[in-house]
């Protein structure tokens, strides 16, 4: 199995486009996943009886085979990027929801009580005390969800999308390994870079975690 470097040289534009498209699909899924998880996690955190239900639903959604999700979505959103993103978003929920709930649980009761006793109203406490303190745990979830989404985008090749995944079908159909290898390497690279970027983002967002006394 040798890499045909001239093929890669001839296809840099296509590889760039596919990489960006791949990244866009994955990041959109994580973005919408966070957007959905935050309010649901607040509900799961505050309303104990709903907690098991919401986490259970996110678990069940995760077990639906990806092809089945795409098929189910076809009548709704067709063979589009939207279908890809919805499918991937559903999968991110299992990690994002759980980690956000756990992050909120991890905020010390003493700190919340102090906020209340200082005269902070509940919404402001949530936004300025609970979310910031839950951030490390939430970010751990975001990192897993991001890497997971980056590896899952390829599945959407079934519906004509799939970013770098298209290189795999291309390579298999022509029995030509170079695009497959390029696709795998770029996917891994993307995952590593995205994860590093999130670590950096977390560093910037949590200054109080930096210098340990």
């Amino acid at each position: 199995m040798s890499v045909d470097w001239s093929w890669i040289g001839d296809h840099t534009d296509e590889l760039t486009t596919l990489t960006l498209s791949h990244l866009q699909a994955a990041l959109s899924a994580v973005f919408f996943g966070v957007l959905i998880s935050l309010p649901l996690a607040v509900i799961a955190h505050r309303v104990r009886p709903l907690r098991g239900f919401l986490l259970g639903v996110s678990n069940i959604l995760f077990t639906i085979p990806s092809i089945a999700i795409f098929v189910l979505l076809l009548p709704v959103s067709g063979l589009t990027r939207t279908t890809t993103v919805i499918g991937l978003t559903v999968y991110t929920l299992v990690v994002l929801l759980r980690n956000t709930v756990e992050g909120l649980d991890s905020v010390p009761a003493k700190t919340k009580e102090a906020a209340k006793a200082m005269g902070t109203r509940p919404l402001r406490t949530l936004l300025t005390v609970e979310f910031p303190l839950a951030l490390p745990v939430i970010m751990a979830g975001v990192r897993i969800a991001t890497v997971m989404s980056i590896s899952l985008v390829s599945v959407a090749t079934y519906i004509g999308d799939g970013g770098l995944g298209q290189l795999f079908t291309d390579g298999f159909q022509r029995d030509f390994p170079t695009p497959v290898i390029a696709g795998v390497v770029l996917t891994i690279l993307l995952a590593v870079v995205a994860d590093a970027a999130l670590v950096a983002l977390q560093y910037v967002l949590t200054p109080w975690k930096r210098r340990r006394a």
Partner: protein, 344 residues
Amino acid sequence: MIQFDAVHKRFPNGTTAVHDLSLEMPEGGVTVLVGSSGCGKTTTLRMINRMVEPTSGTIKVGGQDVTRQDAAELRRSIGYVIQQSGLFPHRTVLDNIATVPLLLGHGRRKARARAAELLETVGLAADAGKRYPHQLSGGQQQRVGVARALAADPPVLLMDEPFGAVDPVVRTQLQDELLRLQKELAKTIVFVTHDIDEAVRLGDRIAVFRTGGHLVQCASPTELLARPADDFVADFLGAERGLKLLSLTTLADVPQGPAPEGGTWSLVLDAANRPVHWASKDTEIPVRPLTDNDSLLSALNESIASPAGLIARVDAAGVLTGVSSRDDIHTHAGQAHTEARVAA
């Protein structure tokens, strides 16, 4: 002034935390609530800023019924210090202190300037402001907690076992600091503790609670120690309550005479007439001189430790003014006791 009128608190699980409490906490004074755990003292404190709502009865702060005010606004007007400081771990010390001024809409710059001012008030260095709470020692965190409670200059300060988690040495420092601050600020302070010595040191009034939320006695420290209302209070004050009472009286009125000459022990002074040690023919024993502001308890302790049975007394500069004997101190201690009992 804070007034409790027939206040009752029963929790949903059926336990009565506070039983028919009527109590006045005087303006500009420190009222200490003491009692063993589960006696309702913390619940009492938390009803003042509505962290707990009373089941019945009324609580007034400055003449206004607390339940008729918006809870969040009420809390902003009352300083609150809790055990282990309860600081926000994700905010710098300065931003922690600025919490309430920011909630009141004072603007970031003004709130931070006020916070920097308070750092000094509570005895912290200016560069502590940029740090995060976990970078400070327990005692420093507690000082920040006090500064945060004072930031909006509230007339009332609630302190829930604020010094419970620090070591005894730091605890004493923080108590001294609080007394110094209180002399300047004259806040109406409600202070919860289970440590009777802390209560005696800090309180203008001490309210003793018994399990089940019953207030047993509320009195000045002297009155409480001299005349406990019943056996429960007496037990709570401990076997050494007579000695505790001595900690409330100063040495000022004990007569003093010139230092003895020619005895077994003589008091050796330095060039500036400051006592250094007691000396006999072959031994030197260090001396701890006392000023008029020291307590009779310290004097008694020192007189027992002194080989000559005398305490060396000095002025503010440390210069010897005279000595007092064990007998003088004993006699005076006995008088102080009797007077306290009669006055109470």
